[in-house]
């Protein structure tokens, strides 16, 4: 009885005073690699494999367990696929079970190679490495958002030594897209093919997922990866009938809520085929816990993109990223996060997928455009006065 009470109080996690007694953490103990309690309210989270995407998820510094993240992409590029590969690769490295739906096994062989922890990559690029303040060692393992609050609940590492810190199980790793992942637990991936059948093609998939999850032990963490949902090169034409796909997603949601501390899922959806203005896609979004839209810049915008970098060291953004819904936050009503409503730009380089605030470039070298209005359409000052 008393155990239950305490458990509830923690997951509610309203006041931060109650948080530090980390001994009574909810179900998955911290010993499970790749799971850590959210700095925001203590619920278990896991990494998406992309540090800046973790940071975007409303202070949880990771994807909360039991949630579905939907990534939509406009155009013909495959940035969402890169995010998905990072997510799967992170799962492999953390020795979680990965279930990939609808693609052949080659997909699994194209996962990006491991090059260390995310933190080590960060350090390499961090020029201020040497002048790190003494206080910072407590926080460095945590994500960039909510780091301040998080520090208090993290058990202090025995020494301030960075080696000791890196020996700790890392939460997020860095991957290189040009390399291939070779990891002993890569065999943990299962590929669920689409079998042609009469009726819903999703029934068989769902059954396999259910069996896999229920037959695995209670300490196994699962990741469900669904690349390019409804893409006609993989799915039969009738898959996009609402009763099939919506029932599938609803059942997936049910499965995940039944095992809420053991599963996460990431789904990508090609928006060019299924536009956001259609009712079906809106229902798919409503059934997901998080919705992120990627809008890559067309090639004609390359000029903008190159001048868009604030400095010459930074890489130019390759597209805009919109957050339509964020797990947990919007379930409660939404709105109180400082990241919501920002304009985000993303950039995919060999080693990382980076999301950062978008800022319009200073109009450099745009002399003609500035001079032109005087002669053409712009009204003169006199016209504007009244």
């Amino acid at each position: 009885m008393s155990f239950r009470k305490r458990n509830i109080g923690l997951s509610a996690g309203v006041d931060r005073a109650a948080i530090p007694n980390a001994s009574a953490q909810p179900t998955p103990p911290e010993s499970i690699p790749g799971i850590r309690p959210s700095p925001d309210d203590g619920r278990p989270t896991t990494s998406t494999g992309t540090p800046s995407l973790d940071g975007l998820l409303a202070g949880h510094a990771g994807l909360p367990m039991g949630k579905i993240l939907l990534i939509e992409e406009n155009g013909t590029t495959d940035f969402a696929g890169a995010l998905l590969r990072y997510y799967a690769a992170e799962g492999v490295v953390q020795e979680q079970k990965i279930h990939v739906v609808g693609v052949p096994e080659q997909w699994g062989r194209s996962l990006p190679g491991l090059i260390g922890t995310a933190e080590s990559l960060e350090k390499r690029s961090d020029k201020r490495k040497d002048e790190r303040m003494k206080i910072a060692w407590r926080y460095e393992r945590l994500g960039e958002f909510g780091a301040g609050i998080a520090g208090s609940r993290d058990a202090p590492t025995p020494t301030g030594d960075t080696d000791a810190a890196s020996k700790q199980a890392a939460f997020c790793h860095a991957f290189d897209l040009t390399k291939r992942l070779a990891h002993p637990s890569i065999t943990n991936m299962t590929f669920i093919p689409l079998v042609p059948s009469r009726g819903s093609p999703f029934v068989a998939i769902l059954k396999r997922l259910q069996d896999a999850v229920t037959s695995a032990g209670p300490n196994t963490i699962h990741r469900i990866v669904i690349p390019s949902l409804l893409n006609p090169t993989m799915y039969p034409p009738d898959a996009c009938q609402p009763e099939y796909v919506l029932q599938f997603l609803h059942s997936l949601k049910a499965l995940m809520s039944a095992h809420a501390t053991r599963i996460t899922a990431m789904v990508t959806l090609p928006l060019s085929l299924f536009p956001r203005s259609s009712g079906l896609v809106r229902w798919i979004e409503l059934l997901s816990d998080g919705v992120i839209e990627l809008c890559p810049f067309p090639h004609s915008a390359d000029a903008l993109a190159t001048s868009g970098a604030a400095t010459s060291q930074e890489e130019p953004p390759q597209g805009m990223l919109k957050t339509h819904r964020i797990p947990v936050l919007h379930e409660r009503g939404g709105g109180s996060d400082q990241n919501v409503g920002q304009d985000w730009a993303f950039n995919l380089s060999r080693r990382r997928f980076e999301i950062k605030p978008f800022s319009l470039p200073p109009a450099e070298g745009d002399k003609e455009a500035q001079d032109a209005p005087a002669s053409s359409g712009m009204p003169k000052k006199a016209d504007l006065e009244f």
């Binding site: 239950r4 029934v203 009938q241 049910a254 809420a260 203005s277 009712g279 809106r282 229902w283 819904r325």
Partner: protein, 345 residues
């Protein structure tokens, strides 16, 4: 920032006084969900501590005496229990006391539970509706097994930790099987059974508030090919409405779901959109009040989560004395809600 009362003062009058047999429609969109408002409804009906409601003296006798049945299609018991806990509402205890019942429309609506694997799939084509045969997994419908030992329930032998004692607060899990009105009737029967059971519990009050969270999902996920359209759904709601004192519904009102249907002439509108719009707008015409939740048109703000517009519906009782209002709300990090007028803070 000072902590907010569980019930925002501006909303108390709307939440606590609904005329008999009234229908309240809550509409939400992707970025402005309605869960917080549903929780406020729960709180106003179930809470016994009247500290925040002192202003409306005559209503106090009703407060805490009401009973609530919550049917949720998109969210599980765990979510509602945890979020109600933040408001100081112990739903598990209340369901023990037969004041509250949760009907789970998420867990097993379309997928039969694991133990019933013999019947492989709820293939939409399978006609006929042997609905009741799959249900006994939860034991007899009457049993809201409060603190009953887990071993007493044969179905729970199923190995897993997921079947936590917390799930015992669930009064009923809905199953959808068969097609058309027959399938809806089966669902209706299940829900009414739970309502009757709550009414039968010894208590002086007979007032039951029924909250259905997103019945429109049921419509979207079945559709014409399974013989369910807006008309059938409206009748389904009407049938449930008859058995309770007041009803509140939440539906999605995203623009693709409402406005695409109106783009007449084009072949743009798909059945999902058309049926949804017909269902939602039909409900709004029958409702006595409509609470619309949406995000700010001008973009996101740091201290505003969204806009709440309260207006009269087209229903009969809608005409009398409801103050139409447009308010802003803000959900704080701890889940408490601040409701205020435009320009105030």
């Amino acid at each position: 920032m000072p902590s907010q009362p569980p019930l925002p003062p501006l909303l108390t009058s709307y939440l606590s006084s609904q005329p008999e047999s009234s229908l309240t429609l809550i509409s939400s969109i992707l970025g402005a969900t309605s869960n917080w408002l549903v929780l406020r409804y729960l709180y106003s009906a179930l809470s016994t501590s009247n500290s925040s409601n002192a202003a409306i003296g005559f209503d106090e006798s009703h407060n805490g005496a009401k009973k609530v049945v919550l049917v949720s299609f998109l969210r599980g018991w765990e979510f509602w229990r945890a979020e109600a806990k933040r408001l100081g509402l112990d739903l598990a205890r209340l369901s023990d006391k037969k004041q509250f019942a949760f009907v789970d429309g998420l867990s097993e609506l379309f997928c039969p539970p694991q133990t019933a694997n013999a019947a492989p799939s709820p293939s939409p084509i399978s006609a006929g509706f042997p609905a009741r045969t799959t249900i006994p997994l939860r034991g007899p419908p009457g049993a809201v097994p409060g603190r009953a030992p887990v071993s007493a329930l044969p179905a729970l032998r199923n190995d897993n930790v997921a079947r936590s004692p917390a799930e015992l607060g669930v009064a009923k899990k809905l199953h959808f099987s068969g097609r058309g009105t027959a399938a809806l009737d089966a669902l209706e029967k299940d829900i009414i059974a739970v309502i009757e059971q709550l009414k039968a519990a010894n208590d002086e009050s007979e007032e039951v508030l029924l909250i259905i969270d997103q019945p429109d999902f049921l419509l979207a996920a079945t559709g014409a090919s399974m013989g369910i359209g807006a008309t059938e759904m409206s009748e389904w709601v009407m049938g449930l409405q008859q058995t309770v004192h007041t009803t509140a519904l939440t539906v999605a009102a995203d623009s693709p779901l409402i406005h695409n249907a109106a783009a007449s002439g084009n072949q743009q509108s798909t059945p999902v959109e058309g049926e949804h719009a017909a269902f939602a707008i039909g409900l709004a015409h029958r409702a006595s009040s409509v609470m619309q939740l949406r995000t700010l048109e001008t973009g996101a703000a740091r201290d505003v989560s969204g806009v709440l517009r309260i207006s009269r519906g087209g229903g009969l009782s809608g005409a009398n004395g409801l103050d139409e209002k447009e308010l802003l709300y803000y959900i704080q990090r701890d889940g408490s809600v601040k409701v205020f007028g435009r320009g105030e803070s």
